[in-house]
Symmetry: C2
Subunit: 249 residues, 2 copies
């Protein structure tokens, strides 16, 4: 049995998220499982670095799978890409140590929330960006973002916080990038709670719209109450860009 | 009556081309005509700089339309964009002189043929690029392209040359741009014959694949026979990028 690590990209528009479901295979993991199972001639499961929600995209999702098939990684990649739908693709696949587990070994993840900040039409990015017509105050968003960097309790930025589970996470960096009509909120952390990036972005957007001040972030975090934070941004603007492992596993 | 000039972008994937047809409105012009007619309260026709074929895209199609409605250009733009489908959008609209005609006044057009030159999947560009797995010889393609620049008879690069109509055109520039996995063939000319950019690109691709030499272009042009040139590249890789007018009309 050989363990493989892979990097996957997908346009999540028509999928019910990453995680496979019993009664449907309209999930990214479901599509991958069925192609890898066909290759193996037995049922195998692809293990992702984490779930992505319905409608969320990836340019750098990481996953692993254990196979017995006697093929080179390049052959596996070509086989699988040939049978995957055109909105899911494997960019890289390589042999990995037995102990490598895409979810348990992940140390950092980077998500990008893409905003099309213009009243112009957005024909070519319409599936992967969320439109906000009025110009956002980018410097204010940048000041607000800095309060979130570090090790904090992000309960206020979690869709369904469970009392028994820690809501403490570390955010290493938040960048607000502006390029012509596009504004990207790029967040790197050691892990993310349910809807965390979308709620963080929603709160930063409300700062950018002048509905909140950057300083408001402090109290939102301290009180830890979901309703104090901003809206959950729609899924379509969110992309999982990169997953990192120690020692480049 | 006020004449307006506009710049339009569209994802041509699901359309039967630019030109409106009697029995269908699944054309770009058809969609524009119906929204502008609704705005005017009478039937008006949007005049494009030229037709684009079924499946061809645009980031900078130019057009004009004559309206009596008493609105600012910005209001017209917002109204029309609100009612257009999300894969067609007006980027700019401005008042133009009475004599401005988007087709008759056009002096230069630039098309870009986008190739995804990799055996990797192309999830996010799959609708707007054509995939060629084997690496193309870019320097050879650049040498071949130079033979096409200038004023020539392009009969060999025309899908249905008509004896009575001139097939002489001027190509001002052909650039072959390479950026990571993408190779773009960017052609600027004073006008283009039917399928001309797609046949030119198909011929250059055959040079890039080693099936022809750059020098072959000379004989292909001199003989002027369609079957001597290369394949017609699929529509989905082609985008009309820019239309120029004298004196920035």
């Amino acid at each position: 049995m050989q363990n493989y690590k892979m990097i996957i990209e997908y346009d999540g528009s028509r999928y019910k998220g990453w995680q496979s479901q019993k009664d449907t295979d309209v999930t990214i993991q479901g599509k991958l499982n069925s192609v890898f199972s066909a290759l193996e001639g037995r049922s195998v499961e692809v293990q992702g670095s984490g779930r992505t929600d319905a409608g969320v995209h990836a340019t750098g999702q990481a996953a692993n799978v254990k196979l017995t098939v006697d093929k080179m990684p390049k052959e596996i990649k070509d086989y699988v890409n040939q049978y995957l739908p055109e909105d899911i693709g494997i960019i890289e696949i390589d042999k990995a140590p037995e102990r490598f587990h895409a979810r348990l070994c992940a140390t950092k993840k980077t998500y990008c929330y893409r905003i099309f900040n213009s009243s112009d039409p957005n024909v070519f990015g319409r599936k992967w960006m969320y439109e906000i017509r009025e110009p956002l105050d980018i410097p204010a968003m940048r000041r607000a973002a800095q309060y979130l960097v570090g090790r904090h309790d992000f309960a206020a930025f979690c869709a369904r916080a469970q009392k028994k589970k820690s809501t403490v996470r570390t955010i290493y960096q938040i960048e607000i990038l502006q390029n012509e009509k596009e504004v990207d909120v790029v967040v790197t952390g050691n892990g993310f709670l349910h809807h965390m990036v979308r709620i963080i972005t929603g709160t930063l957007v409300e700062v950018g719209e002048g509905k909140r001040t950057p300083r408001d972030m402090v109290e939102i975090m301290e009180k830890g109450i979901r309703k104090n934070a901003g809206i959950t941004m729609p899924a379509k603007g969110l992309t999982l860009c990169n997953v990192e492992y120690e020692n480049e596993m």
